[in-house]
């Protein structure tokens, strides 16, 4: 397993490539100029004839300056375009997504596999209404798509959220006290849970992401912020 989702790594590789290119240009340029144009004997050759209180002669070249304004600008436009593309992927609500509620508390996570049970918006399920619970949710074909149990993390009992690969999920998140943020380590996703409002995250785990990974709080929330963990498992 690897931290960060598919989109992250797709962008990361492109950005890394350009980062290395820019870095190499800068470093080669710097080392070349600083060694080639050094004062060979360490003496002070006043090339541009500096004198205190005298504004020195000009040293510029409009063509070169425009070059390294326009070329980086084009690169930036390209990178922005690349980074812009996946926004739709991440920020679009799948109408068929299964909703899971996430509530941040100081300092523990609460999940609910079926937050809409008993409401008009409740999704179809083959299981009778009275069997619906916060702990478990089956879809209309009777397949388990969300289950909530517990797991031990470093000697503490933490929630374990089990979700099915290749199902769409819509995490409806809020907080009961202060700001928190669930960090889905394996998927490279996080979004703050804010008290008094609802934020959302959408994700469809792939088959590659089958397995358990730690969920951490990544918005500072006080004393036990570091222990505010849970585990998310993707099953087949």
């Amino acid at each position: 397993m690897e931290a960060g989702g598919e989109i992250f790594w797709y962008l990361f590789d492109i950005f890394n490539l350009w980062a290395v290119i820019v870095l190499v240009i800068v470093l080669v340029w710097m080392f070349h100029h600083s060694l080639r144009y050094r004062s060979k004997d360490g003496s002070d050759n006043n090339v541009d004839n500096f004198k205190p209180g005298v504004f020195p002669k000009e040293n510029d070249n409009l063509t070169m300056e425009l070059t390294w304004t326009i070329i980086p600008f084009i690169l930036i436009v390209y990178l922005t375009y690349i980074a812009w593309g996946p926004i739709d992927e991440m920020w679009t609500a799948d109408p068929d997504a299964h909703e899971i509620s996430v509530v941040g508390n100081q300092w523990y996570w609460e999940f609910d596999c079926d937050p809409m049970r008993g409401t008009a918006d409740a999704p179809e399920s083959s299981v009778e209404m009275e069997n619906r619970s916060a702990m478990m949710f089956y879809n209309e074909n009777g397949i388990l798509i969300c289950e909530l149990t517990t797991i031990e993390v470093e000697g503490q009992i933490k929630p374990l959220l089990r979700v099915k690969a290749e199902e769409s999920y819509n995490f409806a998140m809020t907080s009961n006290d202060v700001t928190h943020a669930p960090f889905f380590l394996d998927w490279g996703l996080k979004e703050d849970t804010q008290p008094g409002m609802e934020t959302r995250l959408y994700y469809t785990p792939s088959m590659d992401e089958v397995g358990s990974s730690l969920l951490m709080c990544t918005e500072y929330c006080g004393k036990d912020h570091g222990y505010m963990t849970a585990v998310v498992e993707v099953f087949e």
Binding site: Y10, W84, I87, D88, T199, R200, Y202
Partner: protein, 118 residues
Amino acid sequence: MGEHGHHTILGFDRYAFNFWVLMIFTAIEVVAVALTFSMKGTVSMNTVVFILVSVGIVKGVGIAAIFMHLQGDEDSRVLTATALFPVFFIVVMVLFIGLTHPDAADTLPAWCRPGFYT
């Protein structure tokens, strides 16, 4: 800085003139609000807001131009430019802080969704 010329407006002392304009416009403000009170329902809130905003602008310009000497003195132009300098930052602040509200990410309008990632 002393004043050069422009001691009078329409034959009145410019300060006195401005002072009476301010007094009258403040009275208009109060009366506009009093009207909504005493003639309930006949004057719409929008009218009142319109009156308040326009009166506020007139009063603000009067204070800045005459009392703060942003009009008529030889240093007025450059000081007006100084006074207007923060306008851009104020606009940014009001736009970004005053006029946005938190929302879920899927409310991003369609015009900023390229959707070319597969």
